[in-house]
């Protein structure tokens, strides 16, 4: 048995969805190993929900295969796919009680009453809703409805759990709680899961792997840390976390920025897209002594244009030549904010300079 044939392993090969002349999903290729939680991350319209719905069988694929545990499910109707889906709107049956909602999938599978009741009780306990069995969905809060939807999807012990933006209708505090709760339950059950979201924090904090999608294509697939530290494309760099971005020209591996020369990882010649994360830049008054005696850091001189105090961090905008560079520093009790108009020195490690060949407006690489 090869790894991709293992039970609970999801393999997606060349998955494509076309609507007339519009390609919503374009040749998606990826694997989700058993027990892994994978995020489909991207802006709205990137094809992430369409991909999820194709996996569930709710949208027929125009091309490609969906294989779970070695079994090709591409042409299998939804009700025989054995997947649990949690909808963004929860889609709890309004005419059934919480217990009947959770029991629905078991009844459809013809599971006997005694076992059914035991499993429903267990699932409701898992999502901490014991005592709410006889309530109607309309009598529950958003967070409770969310948990019923999760219990209903999990009680059938699906091979794959699919979550379609499950937290987007909850308020911020509840969202943080549910994030932890869903991750905990997913890990405890060791279930393979796909989590669709447009929120990079959700993707980074909850998931083992993240598939960043844009314009129907997979931009990058990898663990959260890789995505953040080694983005494959400017799109990934700018979508995951905040980042400074400006055009410059590279020659012999050196990029000109204002009057300074900086280095970084990327193309050595031609027009480049320079990207630097704001909190990786150190800001010192120009009058302060130079700490980087060996000259290992990229250092540029500039003038503070704007200072914004946000409690835990200070946001600066620093004019460097024509470019405006955002800098983020943790606030300190021993040093106040640097006032606008102050000449400053910015420095950062060359590894933190991401260079990409300059891109056209549509985000695709230039030929």
């Amino acid at each position: 048995m090869t790894a991709t044939d293992a039970p609970g392993h999801l393999a997606i090969r060349g998955l494509t969805k076309r609507y007339g002349g519009f390609t919503a999903v374009d040749g998606l290729d990826l694997d989700v190993a058993r027990g892994e939680l994978l995020a489909f991350l991207g802006p709205s319209g990137c094809g992430k929900t369409t991909s999820l719905r194709m996996v569930a069988g709710l949208v027929p694929a125009s091309g490609g295969r969906i294989v779970v545990g070695g079994r090709d499910l591409t042409d299998v109707p939804t009700h025989r796919r054995d997947m649990g889906l949690v909808f963004q709107s929860y889609a709890l049956f309004p005419h059934l009680s919480v217990a009947r909602n959770v029991a629905f999938g078991l009844e459809m599978r013809g599971i006997g009453r005694a076992e059914r009741e035991a499993r429903v009780r267990e699932a409701i306990a898992l999502v901490r809703l014991t005592g709410k069995e006889e309530h109607r969905p309309a009598q529950l809060s958003g967070g409770q409805q969310q948990r019923v939807a999760l219990a209903r999807a999990l009680v059938i012990r699906p091979q794959i759990l699919l979550l379609d933006e499950p937290l987007s209708n909850l308020d911020a505090k509840l969202r943080d709680e549910m994030r932890i709760e869903i991750r905990e339950i997913q890990q405890r059950l060791g279930i393979t899961a796909i989590f669709v979201t447009h929120d990079q924090v959700e993707a980074l904090t909850m998931c083992d792997k993240v598939a960043v999608m844009n314009g129907g294509r997979l931009e990058q697939l990898g663990p959260p840390l890789d995505l953040y530290e080694r983005p494959a494309t400017p799109f990934v760099a700018s979508f995951v976390g905040r980042i400074n971005q400006f055009r410059a020209r590279a020659a012999g591996g050196i990029v000109g920025l204002g009057e300074a020369r900086i280095t970084g990882a990327g193309p050595a010649e031609g027009p480049v897209e320079v990207m630097i994360r704001p909190h990786r830049i150190a800001l010192r008054p120009a009058s302060a002594p130079v700490e980087d005696a060996e000259g290992r850091l990229n250092t540029v001189a500039g003038t503070v244009a704007r200072t914004t105090f946000a409690g835990d961090v200070l946001h600066y905008e620093v004019a460097v030549g024509d470019a405006m560079i955002g800098v983020e520093e943790a606030t300190r009790s021993d040093a106040g904010p640097v006032a606008p108009g102050t000449p400053v020195r910015l420095s950062w490690r060359p590894d933190d300079t991401l260079l990409f060949a300059a891109v056209a407006r549509d985000g695709r690489m230039r030929p």
């Binding site: 009700h79 025989r80 649990g84 889906l85 005419h95 059938i156």
Partner: protein, 294 residues
Amino acid sequence: MTAALAVAPTTPRGGSPVRPAAGPALLAAIVAVNLLGFVVPVLNLLRLSFLKVEATGTLRETFDLSSWQAILTDGFYAGLLVDSVRTCALITGLTLVLSYPIALLIHRCRGTIRTLLLVLVVTPLLTSAVVRTYGWVALLYDQGLVNGMLMALGLSAPLRLMFNTVGVVIGLTEILMPYMILSLLAGFGRLDPRYEEAAMTLGASPWRTFLRVVLPLTLPGIALGCLLTFVLALSSFITPKLLGGGRVFLLATEIYDQAMVTLNWPLAAALSMVILAMFGLALVLYGRLVRRIG
């Protein structure tokens, strides 16, 4: 009274304030219309049913129970009532079965197609039931389109599709379908395609999804449509008269005959009260059902 109280406190903040006293005043118009257009005539009918009619057709202002006695003791009227309810229940059932898929389709359509389908549903209502009934006569009579085609296909004698209950059921079913479709649509509010998708991901086949999710969620529409169709079927007399050819006896046609042919107004009035009681009964059943659906 309770409605007036519910209207009264509509002045929480902002907007154009409706003074509490304006609630009853606003209701006065509809109360007056109902009183003059419904309550008074019905009470007059009730009074009429206790009058005595001479052989000449003149009414005598006495208290007389002979109309009610006839209805309660003569087996003909009991049979008429049972037949009417049975025929109208059959029509309601057929109308529901034929209208439900159309309503479901319209509910799922969006944009221009939805508008177009709705126009197609409503258009027949712009034509009078008399014209539509004659349309059915042209289709159903012995040399009509349907029989003509059946004979061309080798049928030796024409099917009796008119001047019997079959004709009345066919005609009324088609005539009442728009009302049923519109009522169903009005009651389909809770039906979201997400529920069907959820049921399918949980392992329900399309048929079981329909039985366990779609049907229960559309019950309010079904109840409303059946109530309306049943009431309209029970009270219609032109179509039963024309397509029944005087051989199909229903409550409404009997009332018409008693009032216009026999000129026995007290009996017609008493029969009208019976129909009104049937409507009340249907309404009570509907109310019970809606409350149970919750």
